[in-house]
C-alpha cells in the first residue's frame, strides 16, 4: 500500500553568520528535532536519512551524508546526500516523503545544511555561481544576482512594473523576519532604504538579494498511520510535485516564467487534490525579490504580470489575503543553500500546529512550499495540511 507521510518533529538552528561549523549545526538541528517530538522518539527508530547540501566552499564535496549518522548519534544510519542547488532541501524532503510512501522506513530524517560564511570572499564568489549554467551564463560573468537581474530587467519592462514592487517584497519579508528569532535579519527596512540601496546587478539592489547564511534544519517524517505514536498534532504531506528546465535561461521558451515551477505546482495540486483558494499561506523561494513575483505567477496565485500589483496591494502580507513568507523568506530569514527547502517545511510545521508565535498566520490549515534550484532549473512544490 502507499502510505501518506506526516511530519512529526522539526529542529531549526539560528540562520546567520554563526560560529558553529557544519558538524555542530547538523548535531544541533537533529537534537532539536528529536526533542520536539511531543511523545518522544528513540533515535534508533530512524531507519533512513537524507542530507541536503551543496557543500558550499568545498568543505566536504563527496560523501557528506555519512556525517548524518556520525553527528546525530546514529552510527550506521543508511543515508543519502541530495543536491539540487538551492532546491536541495525541497527535493530531499520529497525523497523522504517517497520513502515513507513506499514503506522503505517507518521514520525518516531529513537534514538541510549549509555553512557559507567561513570561506574567503574570493572563494565565496566562486561558489555563489556554481549552480548556474557554467558554459554560457557563468562565462558571460554572471552569478545568480546577474541572472535574476536580467530576468528582472525584462519583467519590469514588459509588464511596466515599478521597482517599488520589488522593494515591497523586501519590506514585507524583513517585517516578517523581525518576528522570527531564527532569522538572519531581524530588522525592518523602509521602502526608501530598499530603493536607495546600491545596485548589485541592475535593476537589483542590495535589498533585493538574500544574504549568505549558515544554518541547518532537521525534520522527522513518518506515516500517517504511525504519527499518533509521536504526536497528536502531525502535519500531513498532501502532495508533492517536481520538475526541471533548461539549465541556461537563454534556452527557455520564456524569460520571465519558470516552467519548472509551473509543472511542479500542477503536479503538487493534482496529487494533493486541492486548489489554490484553499491554501492558507505560501513559503515561496525569494532568493531575489523578483523571484517572489515570478513564484506568485508560476504557482498560479497571480496572472502574468500581475504579481507586482498584488504585492503592492498588501495581499501577501502576514495579515493579507495570501500571506507569503511569514518566516521572512530567504530574503530576511537567510538562505543557507541546502537548508532552505527544509526550513520552509519547518515553518509550515510550526504554523499548521499553531506554534509560530508572534508571526502566526491565524487559522492556517494548509500551506504550500516552493523551492527553486538556480534560476528555475529545478523546482519542488509541496502541499501540507494540519493533521
Amino acid at each position: 500500500m502507499v502510505h501518506r507521510a506526516a511530519v512529526v518533529g522539526g529542529g531549526h538552528t539560528r540562520f546567520g553568520v554563526l560560529d558553529e561549523g557544519p558538524r555542530a549545526l547538523v548535531r544541533s538541528a537533529v537534537d532539536r528535532a528529536l526533542g520536539s517530538v511531543d511523545r518522544g522518539i528513540d533515535r534508533r527508530s530512524i531507519g533512513l536519512g537524507y542530507l541536503a547540501t551543496l557543500g558550499f566552499g568545498g568543505w566536504q564535496i563527496g560523501n557528506a551524508s555519512a556525517l548524518l549518522g556520525e553527528e546525530a548519534g546514529m552510527p550506521g544510519l543508511p543515508s543519502v546526500r541530495i543536491e539540487n542547488a538551492c532546491a536541495s532541501g525541497g527535493f530531499a524532503l520529497q525523497a523522504a516523503v517517497s520513502s515513507i510512501q513506499a514503506g522503505a522506513s517507518e521514520v525518516v530524517l531529513v537534514v538541510g545544511l549549509e555553512k557559507m560564511t567561513d570561506v574567503s570572499n574570493a572563494r565565496r564568489r566562486f561558489w555563489l555561481g556554481v549552480s548556474g549554467d557554467t558554459e554560457w551564463e557563468r562565462q558571460a560573468g554572471l552569478t545568480f544576482a546577474g541572472v535574476y537581474g536580467l530576468i528582472a530587467d525584462r519583467y519590469l519592462k514588459i509588464h511596466a512594473v515599478p521597482r517599488e514592487a520589488l522593494a515591497t517584497v523586501a519590506v514585507k519579508n524583513h517585517a516578517n523576519g523581525a518576528l522570527n528569532p531564527n532569522a538572519h535579519f531581524q530588522k525592518r527596512v523602509t521602502l526608501d532604504e530598499a530603493l536607495a540601496a546600491p545596485r548589485v546587478a541592475d535593476p537589483l539592489g542590495l535589498y533585493d538579494c538574500c544574504p549568505v547564511s549558515d544554518g541547518a534544519v532537521a525534520l522527522l517524517l513518518t506515516s500517517v498511520e504511525l504519527a499518533p505514536r509521536f504526536t497528536d498534532a502531525p502535519v500531513y504531506v498532501d502532495g508533492i510535485g517536481a520538475s526541471s528546465d533548461f539549465l541556461a535561461v537563454q534556452e527557455r521558451f520564456d524569460l520571465t516564467r519558470f516552467d519548472a515551477t509551473r509543472r511542479a505546482a500542477e503536479a503538487a495540486f493534482r496529487s494533493a487534490d486541492t486548489e489554490r483558494g484553499k491554501i492558507s499561506f505560501v513559503e515561496a523561494h525569494d532568493c531575489f525579490t523578483i523571484a517572489e513575483l515570478l513564484a506568485l505567477e508560476d504557482l498560479g496565485f497571480a496572472g502574468r504580470g500581475e504579481a507586482g500589483a498584488l504585492t503592492l496591494s498588501g495581499a501577501t502580507g502576514r495579515d493579507g489575503r495570501l500571506p507569503v513568507n511569514p518566516d521572512g523568506g530567504l530574503k530576511a530569514k537567510g538562505h543557507p543553500i541546502g537548508a532552505t527547502g527544509v526550513s520552509q517545511a519547518y515553518e509550515v510545521f510550526l504554523q499548521l500546529r499553531g506554534s509560530a508565535g508572534a508571526r502566526q498566520v491565524p487559522g492556517a490549515r494548509t500551506a504550500l512550499t516552493h523551492n527553486v534550484g538556480g534560476a528555475g532549473a529545478t523546482s519542488a512544490v509541496t502541499i501540507f495540511s494540519a493533521g
Binding site: 564568489r125 566562486f126 557563468r138 558571460a140 560573468g141 546577474g146 530587467d153 545596485r199 541592475d202 534556452e251
Partner: protein, 351 residues
C-alpha cells in the same frame, strides 16, 4: 583574374589621450579575429583548406583559433612583420591559388612611404584581406581614391600592390569594411586606462579545456542546429533537438553575428562578479551582461564590451566581437561579446 576581393580593418573603440588603444579584453588574437571574420563570411564551398598568411608572428591561439573561427581547417603561415611583411604576404597570396587570407597587426605608418594612394591602416588593430579568383570582366576594380581619409589613413600600400600588377592581372573589388565606429565610445570609457590583466590561474567555475573547445563553434560562430522535423532551432548546438529530441534531422547553420536584438540587460557592480572576472573588474570596472535574440526564439547570453552602464538597453540592436573572457589554467578563454552597433566608416565602392 586574381584579386583582393574583400578587406576589413578592425580598430579598437577605446582611446587614450586621443590615440586608439586596445580595450582590456582585447589582444592580438581577438583583434585579428575581428578583422578576419569580416572577410570570411562566405562559407567555404569546394575548398577543404584555406590559407591564412600573417604578417609577423601569428597571435596565439593562431592555428587552431583561426580554424575554429573560419569553421574548418586552415594553413597558417608567418612572414615578416610590419607594412613590408604585409605587402609581401599580399603579393604571395596574389600569386597563389584558392582562397587566401592575409592578416596584419601593428602596422605602424611609414611616413617615408610613397604618398600616392591611401588606405586605412590602424596603428593599433588589425587588417585582413581576402584574396581569391575573380572573373575577368566582372565588377571593375574599386577606385582607391574613394577610400576614406581620416586619422588612420596612411599613404602607401595599394600603390605598391598595383605595381605588382602590370597589365591589371589583378585588382581590387568589394567593399572596404572599416569597422571604425566613428564617434564611439563616448563618456568615461573613452578615457579609462586600458590595463590588460595578467593571465593567471583563476579560481573560476571550471570549464575543462576539451569542453571549451567543443563549444567553440556555437560560442565563436553562433552555430545552431535547425530541426527539419519540427522546425525548432537549438542553440548552442548539442546534436539533439531541444524540442523533439531528434538527432537525425539537424542541419547546422551559423546565425548572424551582428544585428541581434537585446531582450534583457544587467550591470554587475563591483564585488558582484564571479572570481574569474576579478582581473577584468580591476582593469575596467563594472560590466554589462545581456541576453540577445540572434533570430526569433534563439538567444545568447553575452558580456558587454565597449559600452558603459545604460549605453545598451532593451530593444537595442547590437553587434558581437570575439574578445577575451578570462584566464584559466594559464591560458585565455575567448568568446563573443555584445558591442554597440554603430555606423561603420564610409565604404569604398565601385566607381
Amino acid at each position: 583574374m586574381r584579386a583582393i576581393v574583400q578587406a576589413a580593418a578592425y580598430v579598437p573603440a577605446w582611446t587614450d589621450r586621443g590615440r586608439r588603444v586596445r580595450g582590456p579584453d582585447e589582444d592580438p588574437f581577438s583583434m585579428a579575429a575581428s578583422a578576419l571574420e569580416r572577410v570570411a563570411r562566405e562559407r567555404r564551398a569546394a575548398e577543404p583548406r584555406w590559407t591564412v598568411r600573417v604578417a609577423g608572428t601569428a597571435p596565439s591561439p593562431a592555428g587552431s583559433g583561426f580554424a575554429e573561427l573560419l569553421g574548418g581547417p586552415v594553413d597558417v603561415s608567418e612572414g615578416r612583420p610590419g607594412l613590408a611583411g604585409f605587402e609581401e604576404a599580399v603579393a604571395i597570396a596574389l600569386r597563389g591559388t584558392g582562397t587566401e587570407f592575409v592578416v596584419a597587426l601593428d602596422l605602424d605608418p611609414d611616413p617615408a612611404g610613397p604618398p600616392s594612394r591611401h588606405v586605412v591602416i590602424p596603428s593599433e588593430g588589425a587588417v585582413a584581406f581576402r584574396i581569391d579568383e575573380f572573373p575577368d570582366g566582372g565588377r571593375p576594380p574599386v577606385d582607391l581614391g574613394h577610400l576614406p581619409s581620416g586619422p588612420y589613413v596612411i599613404p602607401g600600400l595599394f600603390a605598391r600592390h598595383r605595381a605588382l600588377a602590370p597589365g591589371g592581372r589583378y585588382g581590387w573589388v568589394g567593399d572596404w569594411d572599416t569597422d571604425l565606429r566613428a564617434g564611439r565610445p563616448s563618456g568615461p570609457l573613452a578615457t579609462r586606462p586600458p590595463g590588460v590583466p595578467p593571465p593567471r590561474v583563476s579560481e573560476g567555475a571550471y570549464v575543462p579545456r576539451p569542453r571549451y573547445l567543443e563549444g567553440l563553434a556555437s560560442r565563436w560562430r553562433f552555430v545552431c542546429d535547425r530541426c527539419s522535423a519540427c522546425g525548432n532551432v537549438t542553440f548552442p548546438s548539442r546534436g539533439r533537438c531541444r524540442t523533439c529530441a531528434r538527432e537525425d534531422s539537424l542541419e547546422a547553420r551559423a546565425l548572424p553575428l551582428d544585428g541581434g536584438r537585446v531582450l534583457a540587460t544587467t550591470w554587475i557592480g563591483r564585488g558582484g562578479q564571479p572570481t574569474e572576472f576579478d582581473a577584468q573588474v580591476e582593469a575596467s570596472g563594472p560590466y554589462g551582461v545581456v541576453i540577445v535574440e540572434l533570430e526569433p526564439g534563439v538567444r545568447a547570453t553575452l558580456p558587454v564590451a565597449d559600452a558603459g552602464p545604460g549605453e545598451i538597453r532593451i530593444d537595442d540592436t547590437v553587434g558581437t566581437r570575439l574578445r577575451r573572457l578570462y584566464p584559466i589554467d594559464g591560458e585565455w578563454r575567448y568568446g563573443r561579446k555584445a558591442v554597440p552597433l554603430a555606423s561603420n566608416g564610409p565604404s569604398a565602392t565601385a566607381a
